[in-house]
Structure formats: structure tokens, C-alpha cells
């Protein structure tokens, strides 16, 4: 047998053997193997994809939660601010009212005092006129008896008045 001259028998057997092997394996081996590999790769890819989707959803959910929390915080802050403002306003109003009330009361008190004063003065006037009348009456009564006595009497009366 030659080294570099191909022998016909081996070529024929090689052709038959290799082609038989090729078609046998194509049908019964490579097809199922390659299909299984494709399927496995597809399932891995799908799993990775769905994991990615889940991760994204999770992130979205987290972001949403964060947002809601943020909003709640802002709302709370606003409410607090409003409350303090309202409280301040209420205090202010109360103060104002109190001041007005106080002022009114003072006014009223002043008015009452004035009235009292007027009434007192009126009474003083009445008293004075009464006294004056009395003095005048006594004077008139004495006047008729003695001049000096009259004078002494007036003086005495005036003294009495001063003491009063």
C-alpha cells in the first residue's frame, strides 16, 4: 500500500462510513443536542431578562415609595407651618382683642369716673349752695342785731367752712 497514493477501497469505505455517520448523527444526535442547547440558552436568557424586569420594577417601586414619603414629609411640614401660623394669628388676634377690650374698659372706667366726678361736684355745688343759703340765713338773722357780731359770726363761719 502506498503512502501518498490514495487507495480506492479506503476512499469508498471512508465515504460510506463518514456519510452514514453524518446522517445518523445529524438526525439522532446533533439535532436534539443543538436544540437542547438552544433551548437552555433561551431559558437562561429569559430568566435573566425576567430578573432584570423584576429588578427594574423593584427599583420603580422603591422610587415610588420614596416619592410618596417625600410628599408626605412636605405635606406634614406644610401642615405644621400652617398650624404655627394659625396659632400665632390666634394669639395675635387674642392680644389685639384684649388690648381693644382693655382700652374700652379703661375708657368706660374713665367715663364712669368723669360721671362720678361730675356727680360729686354737683353735690358739692348743692352743699355749697345749701351752706351758703344757711350762712346767708344766719347772717341775715344776725345782721339785724349787731354789726360787729355779724362780722365775728361770718368769720367764725368761714373758719368752720375751712375746717370742713
Amino acid at each position: 500500500m502506498d503512502l501518498i497514493l490514495p487507495s480506492s477501497g479506503l476512499i469508498i469505505w471512508q465515504l460510506i462510513g463518514f456519510l452514514a455517520l453524518l446522517f445518523l448523527l445529524m438526525k439522532f444526535a446533533w439535532k436534539p443536542i443543538l436544540e437542547a442547547l438552544d433551548e437552555r440558552e433561551k431559558s437562561i436568557e429569559d430568566a435573566l431578562k425576567s430578573a432584570e424586569i423584576a429588578r427594574n420594577e423593584m427599583a420603580n417601586l422603591k422610587a415610588e415609595n420614596e416619592r410618596i414619603l417625600q410628599e408626605a414629609k412636605i405635606e406634614r411640614d406644610q401642615m405644621l407651618l400652617k398650624a404655627t401660623e394659625t396659632a400665632k394669628q390666634l394669639v395675635e388676634e387674642a392680644k389685639e382683642k384684649a388690648q381693644i377690650e382693655g382700652a374700652k374698659m379703661i375708657e368706660n372706667a374713665k367715663a364712669a369716673i368723669e360721671t362720678e366726678k361730675k356727680a360729686a361736684l354737683e353735690e358739692v355745688k348743692v352743699q355749697v349752695s345749701k351752706l351758703s343759703l344757711e350762712i346767708a340765713e344766719k347772717l341775715l338773722k344776725k345782721n339785724f342785731s349787731e354789726d360787729a357780731a355779724q362780722k365775728a359770726l361770718v368769720e367764725e363761719m368761714v373758719k368752720d367752712l375751712k375746717l370742713n
Binding site: 500500500m1 502506498d2 503512502l3 501518498i4 497514493l5 490514495p6 487507495s7 480506492s8 477501497g9 479506503l10 476512499i11 469508498i12 469505505w13 471512508q14 465515504l15 462510513g17 463518514f18 456519510l19 452514514a20 455517520l21 453524518l22 445518523l24 448523527l25 445529524m26 439522532f28 444526535a29 446533533w30 439535532k31 436534539p32 443536542i33 443543538l34 436544540e35 437542547a36 442547547l37 433551548e39 437552555r40 431559558s43
Partner: protein
């Protein structure tokens, strides 16, 4: 580590070469190294070993087809001396004889086709058997277990299948690779397992036989040219962008190129495997030439080392043959951008 080992081997051989006295007589050389070529070439019988004058051989069927006599079946032992196992014209049987160089002749000079199950054909059947059972048992796993993790034969096959599909077929052929994956897989596994089994002691040199590599190369040639698209043929017969006068030169070159590609495939595999076998056997032959135990030690070291290299070569050559086949297919089916 490897380099140190090499240096050491060379040193050892040099040292022992000076010690040993070559005792080979002139006429013996053929016997001492003849087994190398005997191993490399095909044979009508499967010779395993010789103990003294006893030959341990497996006689193989000799099948002959001729137009006038039809199919004839003999055994190789019919054509040889039962004692020495030598073929020769003297041992003609039924009008045929096998000469000393293992060529089959008809005594009357009739024409016939030799369909014998030679050593390489028997080896071919063994390789097909091993590969078929390996791959089919792997396929069974996928049929039974679907997409679950591979086990057993499937675990051995799967990384290689994925490698051939993704690294060879997909990269070299492009988007239309799927159709060619089964062919490339069969090619890769056949050459790979053939190479590896050929390294076993007593095995035949199947993938280092030019008939085998030529058949594989022709199959690739057919696959390439059957699938060649319009652009591929246009590139061969009307190379775009080349002025008409130059086409007279370019077109013949392109046509020759169609045939040099499979020719290169054929020669590369044949040479790589045959050379590897020859080198290993040459180191073994040193023992018989020098008839020295010392050389035996060194040869054994070298043969071990070369066997490891050959394991690598077995895989590389399977890869290269498959890769080049894929590249030729890729060139035939590619949709070129118009330059």
C-alpha cells in the same frame, strides 16, 4: 519545565550515544526501521506484535468486486505464508495475490475494484463505533433530561459542541452558520477521535492516511461549492473591480484556488498526523538500532513527551481542519458589501 526536560533528554542522548557502540549490520536496517513505514501505511492484515517468530495478527477480509466475477470474499490469511505472514506472488489464491509491498493484483491481469476491509477500514469502523456511541449516548441525555445540566457523555461532548458552534461555525461563517453546524461537528469529532485513537498502541494511522483526508477534503469542497451563492461565483468568474484584460489571469488563478483549498486541507492533516507517528516511531526505532538500554530510557522519555505533544496536535489538527472548512463555507455563503 518542558524545556528543562528537553535539554535533559538531548544531553542524555548525546552522552549515551558516545557510550553505545552501534552494532547494526548493513542488511538489518530495513528490519529495524521497516516497521515505521509499515505502521504508517495501510495493510491487508492487522499486525499487533511479534514474539520471536510468532506473529500476533488479526486477519482481515479481502473483498474484491469485478464485473465478470461479482463480489468475492477472502481473508488476508489466504494470501500469505501461515508461518512468516509474508505476502507474495507465491501465495496466490483464486487468481489474486498480494505482493510484498501489499498491493493486490490479479494473476491474469483482470481489472477489479478492491473493497477490502484493510487495517484502516477496520480502524474507520472502530472510530465510527466509538464516536457514534459517544455522541448518541450524549444525545440520549438531552432527549431524556431536556435542558438540565449535562452529565456523563453529554458533559464531555457539550463544551466541544458549543466551541465548534460558537467559535468555529458562527465566527467563520457568519449569520447563516446553523445549517453547517452538524457537518462541522461530525468533521471535528471524526478527526479528533480518529487522531486520538490513532495514538493508541497497535492502532492504525487512519487520519494520517491520504485517502481519508482526501475524502474529507472533497466533502468540504462539495459542501462549499454546492452552497456557493451568486456573489461567490461572480467573485470567481468575474472578479469585481478587476479590469477585463487582467481577468484573463485572475480567473484561472481563482479557479485553481477552488481546488487548492481542499488540497491544502488534505495535505495538512495527512502530513501533521503521519509526521507525528513517524517521529514517535523513529524514537522507538532508536532502541533497535543502537540496541542499548540507555537509549531505551531516553527514547521512552522522548516518546512520552512526543505523545503529549501529539495529543495536542490531534486536537489542533481537528480544530484547524474544521476551522478552514468553516472559513471556506463562510466565503461561499457570505453576502459581500459592494466595493
Amino acid at each position: 519545565m518542558l524545556r528543562k526536560f528537553l535539554y535533559l533528554s538531548v544531553l542524555f542522548s548525546a552522552f549515551f550515544l558516545t557510550l553505545s557502540t552501534p552494532v547494526s549490520a548493513a542488511g538489518d536496517d530495513e528490519d529495524r526501521t521497516g516497521f515505521i513505514m509499515h505502521h504508517i501505511k495501510d495493510s491487508y492484515e492487522w499486525h499487533f506484535a511479534t514474539f520471536g517468530h510468532k506473529h500476533l495478527t488479526l486477519p482481515l477480509p479481502v473483498i474484491i468486486y469485478s464485473a465478470d466475477r461479482g463480489l468475492e470474499f477472502f481473508m488476508s490469511s489466504d494470501f500469505q505464508n501461515p508461518e512468516t505472514h509474508k505476502f507474495g506472488e507465491a501465495y496466490a489464491h483464486n487468481g489474486y495475490y498480494i505482493d510484498e509491498h501489499e498491493h493486490l493484483y490479479s494473476v491474469e491481469g483482470r481489472s477489479f475494484t478492491d473493497l477490502s476491509i484493510t487495517k484502516n477500514v477496520a480502524m474507520l469502523f472502530l472510530v465510527i463505533l466509538v464516536m457514534g456511541s459517544l455522541v448518541l449516548s450524549a444525545a440520549k441525555h438531552y432527549k431524556k433530561n431536556g435542558i438540565s445540566a449535562p452529565k456523563g457523555a453529554a458533559a464531555i461532548i457539550e463544551p466541544v459542541v458549543i466551541f465548534v458552534r460558537d467559535e468555529i461555525a458562527h465566527k467563520a461563517i457568519g449569520p447563516k452558520y446553523r445549517k453547517f453546524v452538524p457537518y462541522l461537528l461530525t468533521l471535528f469529532f471524526f478527526i479528533w477521535i480518529g487522531n486520538l485513537m490513532g495514538l493508541m498502541p497497535g492502532a492504525a494511522n487512519l487520519t494520517g492516511n491520504i485517502a481519508v483526508t482526501a475524502t474529507l477534503a472533497v466533502l468540504t469542497f462539495i459542501v462549499v461549492n454546492v452552497n456557493g451563492n451568486k456573489e461567490y461565483w461572480k467573485h470567481v468568474f468575474m472578479t469585481p473591480g478587476v479590469p477585463v484584460p487582467l481577468l484573463l489571469v485572475i480567473v484561472p488563478v481563482e479557479i485553481i484556488g477552488l481546488f487548492t483549498k481542499p488540497f491544502a486541507l488534505m495535505v495538512r492533516l495527512f502530513v501533521a498526523i503521519t509526521a507525528g507517528h513517524i517521529v514517535i516511531l523513529a524514537f522507538i526505532a532508536l532502541v533497535f538500532i543502537f540496541e542499548s538500554y540507555a537509549i531505551g530510557v531516553v527514547s521512552t522519555l522522548m516518546v512520552t513527551f512526543l505523545n503529549i505533544i501529539e495529543l495536542l496536535v490531534a486536537t489542533i489538527q481537528a480544530y484547524v481542519f474544521t476551522l478552514f472548512s468553516a472559513m471556506y463555507i463562510g466565503a461561499a455563503v457570505a453576502e459581500h458589501d459592494h466595493h
